[in-house]
Subunit: 302 residues, 4 copies
């Protein structure tokens, strides 16, 4: 079917390519000329330089897929789209938006007779080849109308995607998915760190990751990636111990507390990332100062 892909960064361009490859007609838009050219060159994508041109190129009722950074950019895009949309158009937000923003945006669109679907998308840079896991929230009929797109984007037509509830449900599920991801990553990271430190056994981390990939209880796709990363760089040399976070972990923690659910492991996984970015922890300095005050233990100069 026809689809307009708005945002041709890596994720958007990859999804457009996967759709096109399966016979869909994808018209693209990105405000940046470089992104448009890259998408055109890499995937032969038709890339417009204005939303007006994009929408004019699509038959009504239109299907539009937003793949733009969460937050203000989504609102700005919707704002720009608003006068161009018609009753019956469907807009999918495939990014990592906060589910509460998605609920608000869906309500706003509904007033104009436009459907807004929030689609949690997992799979990262591997999705082009392997397919994306898609959790869709919003109107059931609108979701059904876009079924051909979801069937192409998912790893297989009958699996890896689904409408999971009303507006907000897709991004809520994706938020929790990422919270779980934080916890799993931290669990692996701690385990490998323990083995790395056990110098007397001289464990071979790439070998262990590889062994565990087959038959063990902890086998997973993240372990596949860990095995690759360790194979390429067994001591992780040259990589700074600095871990960014992009929002969903924070939202999961806030939501868990709001719901009175204790989620200590997801929470600690987030805090460890904050900790990784502390260059000169005031809390640690305070502890050192206090120890010195009551025990005369002295402090290190720093």
């Amino acid at each position: 079917m026809d689809i307009g892909m708005i945002g041709l960064g890596r994720m958007g361009a990859n999804m457009a390519a996967r759709l096109q490859r399966d016979g869909h007609r994808v018209a693209g838009f990105d405000p940046g000329a470089a992104a448009r050219q890259a998408a055109a060159q890499a995937h032969g994508l038709e890339a417009f330089d204005s939303l007006q041109a994009l929408l004019a190129a699509l038959p009504a009722p239109r299907a539009l897929w937003l793949m733009v950074p969460a937050g203000a950019p989504v609102d700005a895009t919707l704002e720009a789209l608003r006068p161009l949309l018609q009753v019956g158009d469907v807009v999918v937000d495939g990014g990592n938006s906060n589910y509460q923003d998605s609920q608000r945006r869906a309500a706003d669109c509904r007033r104009d007779g436009v459907h807004f679907l929030d689609c949690g998308t997992s799979g990262g840079v591997w999705g082009l080849a392997e397919g994306y896991s898609l959790m869709v929230g919003g109107d059931a009929a609108a979701c059904e109308r876009l079924r051909p797109l979801f069937e192409t984007l998912a790893p297989a037509p009958d699996r890896g995607w689904g409408r999971v509830g009303p507006s907000g449900a897709g991004h809520f599920a994706k938020m929790v998915h990422n919270g779980i991801e934080y916890g799993m990553m931290q669990a692996y990271a701690e385990g490998f760190a323990i083995m790395q430190r056990k110098e007397s056994l001289a464990l071979d981390l790439p070998q262990l990751a590889e062994i565990w990939r087959h038959g063990s209880v902890v086998r997973s796709w993240l372990l596949d990636l860990a095995a690759e990363a360790l194979h390429d760089n067994p001591s992780l040399e040259g990589i700074a111990p600095y871990v960014a976070d992009s929002g969903e972990g924070r939202w999961t923690v806030a939501e868990a507390i709001e719901l009175d659910v204790a989620a200590p492991v997801i929470t600690l996984s987030l805090l460890e990332r904050l900790r990784s970015r502390e260059k000169d922890s005031f809390a640690d300095k305070m502890l050192a100062a206090l120890r010195d005050r009551f025990g005369g233990h002295g402090v290190r100069q720093g």
Copy 2:
């Protein structure tokens, strides 16, 4: 090749069956008549009722695989085996022993000219069909001699197993594996608990687990099991919120602290299990009492 399997509980009997099925000749032993009969009936296993008879039935140098509960039972079995073993025999401990015990036992065996291999074994009840992930510690030549066994037990001859270091390395790696397993399980459990509590979205947990199995970053074998469990019992009705632990998690936590490695997520995963078994937490009562003392908040009767 010929192998004596000592301990015919579920794990031992399954491993014996997988070995036999691939053409090895397995002689079994278990002190319990019921276990012997079950193994004989289910897998046609030759099951002896004494270690003497078992060892007499095996050609020298013998290969023996222990699949008995960790701790005292392993020591008792080795004690009973000691007078029966000959120089060059190989004893594998395939259970979840503490790696320090394994190092001690290997040193003891070495004095008698016997090889002791510690083999961390992952795969649980699924290993019979899918193969086991095996991490072997100990003498390289002894490990090489048993290669045919490992190749059969693993998911494939060339993957899912390996000699990972000197004595203790196999059980050390398995210990950390289980620590990671705790963290991953806790991450999933928290995530699903958050979604279950979000009543306004009425999320379908079995559906979400199934969607995530395909293409998502959190796909894993544990998620496959979670999807099955939720499919069969979406509300987990009838299951008590009581989580046992069998040692490796505690050891991982202790080892991490000993090595000065902060492993908060693995650690908290263990503590959550302890917490699940607290019927009447003294700490919580103390908090309630203190709140009442300074704030006059009152306490609930309990």
Copy 3:
């Protein structure tokens, strides 16, 4: 000086009494007749039944102290006060309001020429006798004008109170104070729980709390209360292991994450309170179900 106390619950009535006892003239208001009567009887307080009457009884520029529940009640009270206030009046919010609400309210009041001070108040039911610890945010001159009140409410005129910054600073500091309080309480609770469980040593918890009160590193006012609580009820019998929370802990956790500060102990203290209220943890059931799936460990019926 003259002061209007709005809200004659326990905290408000106690503060009014402490002010009156030191020579200030306190006019009170509470919407509830019972609270008015109780305050009048216990402390001889002049209690009005309308804000109009209260404000009419106070000389301009007026000083008003709000001691009402945080959240909507504060906004409702300010809404009702608004038409009655005059330029130059000072309103103090002495409750546990969110500091961001206080910043908003101060800005609203400022538009009317009214000063709004946010005053974090610690001391609980003991404040009447021992004085309150007061952290004041807002206009410095307005704060100075109310100095006689702060000097009376604090444990001593020259200590235990201060203007700590612009609007919001008082409630921000109180929020963090309460976060610290959570952590300290949890630390004591865990420590006493460990000692209580060590049955082989039969430790006498009230005795230990009492010993620690004198000369130990952990001596504190909270320990004084713990010693009392344990003295009165050494086994904490009849107290449910159910711990409420009233907001400041959550705000501290959210603020720490917002500021990228890892505060694991304050955070875990909050999560333990949530956990204390879980009757039938879905996460724990999930863990039990997963263990059974891969290891055949069985589950407890629940």
Copy 4:
């Protein structure tokens, strides 16, 4: 009464001085000439250069107080003392020994007719002036015989000390005391770190610590020290964020797990100290590497 103080480091010398000042006759011993001279000069202490000389100077049955580093030094000292001791002598270990070591040592001493008391001692460098909090484990009669010493060392004869149980109980209680101390310190440290980071409010940390000392729920001796530390160095400049630990925290964590008591806050407080000493966390590098693998997020060079 007469007492032999073995170990004249800061703690031993201070305790000797406090005893002497109250009329006891203290004979000291330290293997180091510098420590002997310092104690002699600072407190006029009679310091012997051999255990033989020390014991010869004391009337039987002797009272000896060990103030030597925990672990091997205590065993070595007891080994050296053994041939010199007589039936009825009492040896007190006032250091931070592991309670299980103390139970073993008490059993060993008992075989020689010697009493061994384990005395948890809190108070640090302030104990000389303010008195020590003392938790004594071991034989009740032996403890009673040394009552005059405990009454002098404690802040007051009738408070701040007590026999808290059989052998091991004193050091067990001290171990838990220190675990609580870790948690309290971490709670304060996190709270002040949050306030320090809130730049928009420009909070004055020394002022807040000082305000809280009077009337607040979090007032404590540790807060008194925090106020001093912040007064002297508000930004904690020049202090490295490096926090040592000396064993009791680890033991508390291990003991809690052994007893199946979840103590997350004490545990995390220990892990934060480990974390403060990680210069180049392998776990964090692994997280950064994994993020890059699935999301193409890139890593920082390090």
